[in-house]
């Protein structure tokens, strides 16, 4: 067992060093798909989180609770629901999105949206209450004052985006259900790991896991560094 693992590691390093095409393909697609998903979710989630964190409106606490609950949604469950919606006989079947990268992007965007909304709302709420009044006494308009509040919340918002990207990159359920793991089209790191390992191709699985771990590690270290540089 241990020797299997070591052998797997050795082969994995070889695969990575040799620049194996299937490894590169899955890696780049993972980055692209999860990056787009996070971007999409941010476009919707940041303004939503901003509003939820700074305004009072009826149903607000209910909505906050909903997004908080959705933080823990099982990826495969979300994948299944979206599969049913996007499959040929489903309500959006006509779009022909199932088993395309776009389907994964949409699915992952929905998956990480609650992270972006809840974290952003928290960050905005965490901004000192006096900031808005302060900006106004210094001459800021309502709009400029809101922008200042958002700027103050940026470290938290940044964290939200990173956390969202992490979740998208590391999830399996949505990518598997909506992408179908088609080689060269919808294969991403996680789906390849799952498939190759069940097919007995353990070395490739380990190689891809190593890559996935390195990406997550490098990304988070870089994010931490940037955060410290900019905001402390």
């Amino acid at each position: 067992m241990v020797s299997d693992l070591l052998e797997g590691l050795r082969r994995a390093v070889e695969l990575i060093i040799s620049g194996d095409l299937s490894v590169l393909d899955a890696t780049l697609r993972s980055l692209y798909v999860s990056g787009m998903a996070t971007l999409l979710a941010a476009l919707l989630g940041l303004p939503l989180g901003m509003i939820m964190g700074s305004r009072e409106f009826p149903g607000k606490s209910w909505l906050r609770g909903l997004f908080n609950a959705l933080l823990g949604i099982p990826t495969v469950g979300l994948g299944l629901i979206l599969y049913l919606i996007l499959s040929r006989s489903g309500p959006l079947g006509a779009l022909g999105l199932l088993y395309t990268p776009s389907a994964i992007i949409i699915g992952q965007a929905l998956l990480v949206l609650p992270i972006l909304v809840s974290f952003t709302a928290n960050a905005v709420e965490g901004v000192e209450r006096g900031i808005k009044d302060l900006s106004k006494t210094l001459g800021a308009s309502e709009m400029q004052a809101s922008l200042t509040v958002f700027k103050e919340a940026l470290p938290g918002v940044f964290l939200a985006v990173i956390a969202g990207f992490n979740r998208a990159l590391a999830e399996l359920g949505v990518a598997l259900m909506l992408g179908g793991n088609i080689a060269g089209l919808t294969r991403v790191l996680t789906t390849t790991i799952a498939l190759e390992t069940t097919r007995g191709n353990t070395e490739l699985g380990i190689a891809l896991t190593l890559i996935l771990l390195s990406i997550v590690f490098v990304l988070n270290s870089a994010a931490n560094l940037i955060k410290e540089r900019l905001w402390s």
Partner: protein, 351 residues
């Protein structure tokens, strides 16, 4: 002098609570006005309305003769600014904090740099430009807040308890900057404070606010005398007593309950004596010093105020003393501790 701001019959309700109760006030251009009163009297609410960040429930604000409604608000906020009691700084450098309002006004970069530099000099924070504002001490942050306001060269500067909870050194830097703005730049200044005599030296005119109403209006010293019964229980160490001159050019003041203190000026008759809480030294044993006043008492209340601690000491009359948290800890003082209060004759101000 002409009127800069005039308030007509302001009322402000927060739900059931009436924070301001029919307040009318004229503020003259170039004057320094103190708003006195205990905590919860409505001082902050009044300042916030004047700063244009709070709307009165009813009543009208005129600025330079123009009624301030939704429309005049932007112009009001451009000409007048406020420094809050609880210091808030933007999460960025000291420079960017101070430059904020100038950037909003779209000033060119070199002009901003020059004015920020001047403001930093005034509050004695030169060299702090690149420091993250959040990492500064409370006193330094308060100086940043003041610099951020005066850099705008406002017509009207509103200050909410600018020296409360600050060490005496920082407090005097801030007072000096305020005086400079008033004298050299002609800035009209309104200071809200519950500590009458710190600002008593800065301000000429004062109003006394109690429960949202103006109960006294006039010169600071007159207000202190006139309202000795009405309001001054709420101020620290204000005693009304009878002064008798001594042979050495000082006077002894009987402040009641058998307590006599010595003040450095020669007076006779009814006086109001004020002793700054920071000028009183607390010790467990009697001190050998040149200070003329030593009283023995017992601590009856300890309350934390920012980085300092307020002690109420029963020594015939109740005295308020302000010390640092560190000294409280070092001396291991508690409610019930017996202490000696020592202060110089020159620390007593007679009004």
């Amino acid at each position: 002098m002409s009127s800069l701001m005039s308030l007509h019959d302001l009322v402000k309700d927060y739900g059931e609570i009436r924070a301001l109760d029919h307040v009318s006030l004229e503020v003259e251009e170039g004057e320094t006005l103190a708003i006195l009163g205990p905590n919860g009297a409505g001082k902050t609410t009044l300042l916030r309305i004047m700063a244009g960040i709070e709307e009165p429930t009813s009543g009208t604000v005129y600025y330079k003769g123009t009624k301030i409604g939704r429309r005049g608000l932007a112009r009001l906020r451009m000409s007048c600014t406020m420094v809050f009691q609880r210091t808030v700084v933007f999460n960025t450098t000291v420079y960017n904090n101070i430059a904020y309002g100038l950037m909003i006004r779209g000033l060119p970069k070199n002009k901003i740099a020059r004015r920020v530099d001047d403001a930093l000099n005034l509050v004695k924070l030169k060299g702090y430009e690149r420091r993250p504002a959040k990492r500064l001490s409370g006193g330094e942050q308060q100086r940043v807040a003041l610099a951020r306001a005066i850099v705008l060269e406002p017509e009207l500067l509103l200050l909410d308890e600018p020296t409360a909870n600050l060490d005496p050194e920082t407090a005097s830097i801030i007072e000096e900057a305020i005086r400079y703005m008033n004298r050299e730049r002609g800035t009209t200044i309104i200071v809200a404070t519950h500590n009458v005599f710190r600002m008593g030296e800065v301000a000429e005119r004062a109003i006394l606010l109690m429960n949202g109403r103006i109960v006294e209006e006039g010169l600071v010293s007159d207000i202190l005398l006139r309202s000795s019964l009405a309001g001054f229980a709420v101020l620290d160490n204000v005693f009304v007593g009878w002064a008798e001159p001594t042979s050495s050019g000082t006077s002894t003041i009987d402040i009641g309950e058998g307590v006599k203190v010595e003040a450095s000026s020669e007076r006779r008759g009814r006086v109001t004596a004020v002793i700054p809480p920071v000028d009183i030294i607390v010790s467990k044993e009697p001190l050998e010093s040149s200070a003329r006043n030593v009283l023995k008492g017992r601590i009856i209340e300890v309350s934390e105020v920012g980085s300092t601690v307020k002690l109420k000491v029963e020594a015939g009359r109740v005295f308020t003393v302000q010390i640092t948290k560190a000294s409280l800890k070092e001396m291991n003082l508690n409610v019930g501790s017996d202490v000696y209060l020592t202060f110089k004759a020159s620390s007593i101000r007679l009004l």
